[in-house]
Symmetry: C2
DNA sequence: TTGAAAGCGCTAACAC
DNA sequence: GTGTTAGCGCTTTCAA
């Protein structure tokens, strides 16, 4: 039914080897036969079988995409946007993405994704905090690995990372520029490099503005940066510190929890307390007042990862390239106030 | 490097055929050899090659998942949740999902997804409104097709559909039960069966309550059910009808646009106008007041689709089964009012 | 510039 | 019960 290379060979009256050469654009085929073969291919609507090709070439044209359950289930479209970007670029590059989720807590003896075991992928993209056991398992196969928004110290892997330190600085500076001095930090899972870096940025910004760092203004003991934890952390923060005028939350999800808490206490945003988040998770645009945040180009990160993978697979580039993705301040109505400073002076 | 069936055969001192039989749990293999072989498999950490298996068996273990660009880019996590459900169930069933997006407007000569052409999938799941050209192209390959939340009249395909008519009825009845009589309907892309069915449910509910249907209360001329169109439609609706007390929007995205418009005009929700949506898109939980809606079990739809596909592929079930997914009223604060009726009487 | 043939790793029919 | 063997559709030497 579906034509095979033999059908083409027969129809074009050449050998299957010739057909194969034509498909791969081999130069030492005469224009004439090339035309003949291509005509047959068109007419029969022939496309080489992926399996057969994979079997002989050892290449599948698939890229594995690993995400933890937690991350994929997050209702904010952060990781899904990254996936989306990856998908778009993959289509461009004639590749397919095989997505799989893994538990965020790995039991001993947990298996690697089937696509690795059965050699169904040519490389793997690891997104977010993937359990180290999985990463270690992966290392044994010589597949190119690319981390996105997370990395585990090891040799010869690539990574697409967010410029979290600078982002944290910009966010904090934005508050400082508006005249805020007593600025809280709300974080969670602080051992995560991305979040820790944002915290570092916060501290740096304070320092360069000559504001002393005060650990009492920082609540970082929750284990996951989600709304409810932003809410809880804010309660704690306010209990100890009545005179805060600004809060930098390590991501938008927590920032929303922060705002929820402030609203409940009838604290005005930004008049009493200004709030800034991080990530620019689009679907939350609807919150009141609109949340200022640091934009993380999520689609682009997915795109970059697949571009890089494609280069690695065609050996155009070494398999240990790091790409740092810049972030950008998005001013909305949840920040400014304090004498209503009209704009950032440093900008 | 990675072991092949030969390595196992050698190690276990049997033929490759025996290894294959053991892998497939063939009963006429002695316990003893079975043990021997399994031991070798464990020790070498052998997993059969997907490509080789695919080549000979004609089965790939992959399922195609087709979505339009538009749908995948929607910021509300509706289709992504369906995908997520599919992914979970696929993992359960030892299958992989190959997701691809297609343009929502197909140019002539548009190619089918590569996974179809190269026979990289055993079946295809079509999600949402997929261009008819794509569907027609697909029909030529004898792959089982399953529609989700959309269907194109044709023979021998399966579908997972939302019970939109009953959903539309429930939503409208909920308003009616609270005492509302003048209830608007906000829709878009009304030729889409799902949306049209919700509209039908609206009309049915009115009829059974003895309220006359008034087309002036229905704005359905926008082309896509998105926020901004909900906003626009509401403006139109209010211009002509000052005395509306309830609005049923065909989905949550539009409902949010509705609320935005009402808020701008300082119309109180639900005191002046009650609003109900459809879909229960989680990320919008944060809007004020929380939006009443009809819950559509998105994960379950993906799960059901893959379950069904898995059954079809193993011939346990015919390839033209329709599954109707029930929806459920979710009461939040955007509805009720009108004399503050405390509860639905019909419930 | 083209063709013959080996072989990628596996399944399944058939033999023993 | 187990082994032999012929392919599945393709790529890739090697010869011609």
């Amino acid at each position: 039914m579906t034509p095979t290379i033999k059908d083409i060979a027969k129809k074009a009256d050449v050998s299957i080897a010739t057909v194969s050469l034509v498909i791969h654009n081999n130069k030492r085929i005469s224009e004439e036969t090339k035309k003949k073969v291509n005509k047959a291919i068109k007419e029969l609507n022939y496309h080489p079988s992926g399996s057969a090709r994979g079997l002989v070439s050892g290449k599948t044209g698939n890229i594995g995409f690993i995400l933890t359950n937690d991350h994929f289930l997050r209702s904010e479209p952060f990781y899904t946007r990254i996936f989306l970007g990856a998908e778009f670029e993959a289509r461009e590059k004639q590749l397919y993405i095989l997505l799989t989720t893994v538990p965020s807590e790995v039991k001993k003896g947990e298996k690697l994704p089937r696509f690795v075991l059965e050699r169904n992928v040519d490389g793997v993209i690891l997104v977010g905090k993937v359990p180290v056991e999985i990463v270690n398992g992966l290392k044994k196969y010589d597949l190119p690995l690319i981390f996105i928004d997370y990395e585990i110290p090891m040799e010869g892997y690539s990574a697409i990372l967010i410029d979290n330190v600078n982002g944290g600085m910009s966010a904090t500076q934005h508050l400082i520029n508006a005249g805020h001095k007593k600025i809280g930090f709300i974080g969670a899972d602080i051992s995560h490099p991305s979040i820790n870096d944002r915290f570092t940025g916060y501290k740096k910004a304070l320092k360069s503005a000559g504001i002393e760092f005060n650990p009492d203004l920082c609540i970082t003991d929750e284990n996951y940066p989600a709304r409810e934890n932003g809410y809880k952390a804010t309660k704690k923060l306010l209990k100890k510190n009545k005179d805060i005028t600004g809060i930098f939350a390590c991501n938008d999800a927590m920032a929303i929890g922060v705002m929820q808490c402030l609203k409940e206490k009838s604290i005005r945003i930004p008049e009493d307390i200004a709030v800034i988040g991080f990530d620019n998770v689009e679907s939350d645009l609807f919150i009141e007042p609109p949340l200022s945040t640091m934009n993380v180009p999520k689609l682009e990160m997915g795109i970059e990862a697949v571009k890089l993978m494609s280069q690695i697979l065609s050996k155009k580039v070494s398999s240990s390239k790091k790409i740092l993705i810049p972030v950008e301040l998005v001013k909305r109505q949840s920040t400014v106030a304090i004498n209503n400073v009209s704009a950032d002076k440093n900008k």
